[in-house]
Symmetry: C3
Subunit: 157 residues, 3 copies
């Protein structure tokens, strides 16, 4: 077992998730291979979410998540197998999306299947995608006593 590669891949996935939710797009792009594939399909989405390059993935994310949209993507339960310069990983995803301007909240869970590739000693995500266990939406506008007491992305008055 290659414990160092496993640590590196775990930290890679954590960096991908942190830079996604904190919207740090340069660092997010660097977690992906140039030819990365991604499939983030979700029943609540209005268009297919399949991408075949880093530029497509970063372009979509940076555009669709800009503005006053809160996302928290949490990955757990890593099962990573390393085979030389490539690796595979399974992760549980729990995601929360809050769109304050529409009083809208989504919660869900899914299992990711990823592949990773080591390029010049650096691990990157070569493909990622998931299959949902569930996804639920609700309206925060009518939720009793609901209020956002912090929002990193709230527009400055």
């Amino acid at each position: 077992m290659d414990c160092i590669a496993i640590e590196e891949i775990r930290a890679l996935k954590h960096r991908y998730l942190r830079t996604l939710d904190l919207k740090i797009w340069d660092e997010f792009a660097d977690t992906l291979t140039a030819d990365a594939n991604a499939s983030y399909g979700s029943p609540s989405g209005s268009r297919p979410l399949d991408f075949t390059s880093r530029d497509e993935i970063v372009g979509y994310m940076s555009e669709s998540l800009s503005g006053n949209i809160i996302t928290v993507h949490v990955a757990n339960h890593a099962e990573i197998s390393v085979d030389g310069e490539t690796a595979t990983g399974s992760w549980l995803l729990e995601d929360t999306v809050i769109i304050p301007d529409h009083d809208f909240l989504i919660r869900g869970a899914a299992y990711y299947n990823d592949t990773y590739r080591r390029e010049n000693g650096v691990w990157r995500i070569a493909s990622t995608g998931y299959k949902r266990i569930f996804e639920a939406k609700m309206s925060t506008g009518a939720l009793p006593g609901f209020a956002l007491t912090a929002n990193r992305w709230a527009p400055v008055a």
Copy 2:
């Protein structure tokens, strides 16, 4: 510190949780020793949940979670101690259970105390159980704007 054993036990627990929530009962059974003990007691349960063999555990889970029941069991905060061919582990559990046919949702948290045993080089769970921090139920039927937008277990029309 035996980093390889810790990695193996972490992956074992992750496999146990993945196969539980994805209802892959053959692979789930293989995460347990034949004489595994489990204690999943919960105030909302209507009967005691103590088991003294792998067959009992797998039988109960595969029966009670079959059909249109969504579960997400998330374990975190591993503190694992290895002592030769046995090990102990503490984990935080957060669980979500959704029963769409009854408009019912449960959320909770607990701390697991597990023991593990290595048999012919393979780690398995020898005992597992937890003590709750909290458990809460709510009705999704009256939750404002609530709808499941994905459900892996929904009956096919």
Copy 3:
């Protein structure tokens, strides 16, 4: 990469979170250096939450969380860098606070930035603090069908 130090620091953070939510204050104190700094500021708080010693941190926590208050602090996405006898770490926090006597629930997420110091071979938290992604409050009193079915801290009748 120092895999052993990373395992030790991960387990340290997990012990900090477990003893916080289980209110085991002696063991909680032992996860901090005597001169530990902490900044847990939150918009919903009524006073600044900045501390400059272990005694201050433990005193505040053990006082403010005593009684019938449920907390679940979950940390994920560790990115740990070790440099000799010091280290840094980034973690995602998701927290749930339930105050049953006020029918009150808080959910939030944030990214921690920690530093760690090894003293006589033992890693401890030297500083910790976070910046929120979001925090939301809601009233459980009017939440449809809401009931606590387990509460570790419920007063004994």
